[in-house]
Symmetry: C2
Subunit: 199 residues, 2 copies
């Protein structure tokens, strides 16, 4: 790639570093941008530069926000006594899009993973326990992925929350809507049968 | 997505505009960046902002360059009497990676496409004809995609070049019809160059 200007090569390089973007896609994205106006390109660059500007963790739920509390925790219409525990903000966004949950969240910013050297102290579990201790919480919904790390993290958290008078639930495991039973793995089918409901 | 800070939302929006990046991927990319240091993010943004800085067309072949002539046209080791015509710089990069071609290029920056309203005047065809007229060119290799637009552009160019004493060839159809030259692997491109035939 020595036959193209350095400034272009650098953008291809930066794009290649992003997850799921190979060298060919990085080239395509870069040359797509090259066809944009100077203004559009500058605007794109500046938007990225400002990504983290003023961003901090919500002091209650650890969601990302520019204020002391995030918009969900500030929302008077949300039920503060029901907390859904999620791994990261992407999961929170996904749940919000479903437009079903009217409680609040607690974002762990990861899962316990001995393999990756992530212990409970790297996460926001202590904040969660304090939150349960100091507030009138009625239900904790565990909204973690059904992976090994998700299960381990759920077990760890449950142990600390059990002593309080709190209902602990977890989101249902089963066949995704629109998914095909035939292609579901045995573990999913097992969970789907266990969690069956009245027709 | 009203529950996340505006600066983050804007980056997701910008990523979504890129070709091949859907809303979910845009979210993933953005949150991947969020885990980077402030410095890394700023560097990424600045690199993009500078993408077009000092970039112009090579006065000979219309490749992108920061100098009057691109590094290929400046290279004394390249055969200036053999010109390979390509649609865009991505195709030039792909051919260079095959490391087979020792001539020079002519970048059209598009193909004739009545559907998209692109006529010969939108491309660098006049420059190409001048180049053939005023230099001792021995061979023109047509390195365009075997699409309808590629064929039409090849036919148009050939009509103007035929009167000159120039051998006109095209890269072999080792590239599947309907496929994209840019995505061909180096070996296929090498074969395609070796097996070029008289136009």
């Amino acid at each position: 790639m020595s036959h193209i200007p350095k400034t272009i090569e650098r953008v291809i390089e930066e794009f290649s570093k992003l997850p799921g973007i190979g060298p060919k896609s990085a080239e395509r994205l870069t040359f797509y941008l090259l066809r944009k106006t100077d203004d559009d390109i500058r605007k794109f660059g500046e938007t990225i530069s400002k990504l983290k500007e003023g961003i901090k963790y919500c002091e209650v739920c650890k969601n990302l926000t520019t204020e002391a509390k995030c918009s969900i925790c500030e929302d008077l219409g949300r039920d503060k006594s029901t907390i859904c525990i999620v791994e990261d903000v992407l999961d929170l966004i996904a749940l919000e899009k479903a437009n079903e949950f009217k409680g609040v969240y607690h974002v762990l910013h990861g899962l316990i993973s001995p393999v990756e050297g992530i212990g409970p102290d790297e996460l926001t579990i202590t904040d969660l326990i304090d939150r349960v201790k100091n507030n009138d919480i009625k239900e904790i919904i565990i909204g973690l992925n059904p992976s090994m790390e998700g299960e381990a993290t759920a077990a760890y958290i449950t142990r600390f929350i059990k002593p309080f008078d709190v209902r602990i639930t977890r989101i249902a495991r089963g066949i995704p809507v629109g998914g095909d039973l035939e292609y579901a793995d045995s573990q999913t089918l097992k969970r789907a049968l266990e969690g069956r409901s009245e027709y």
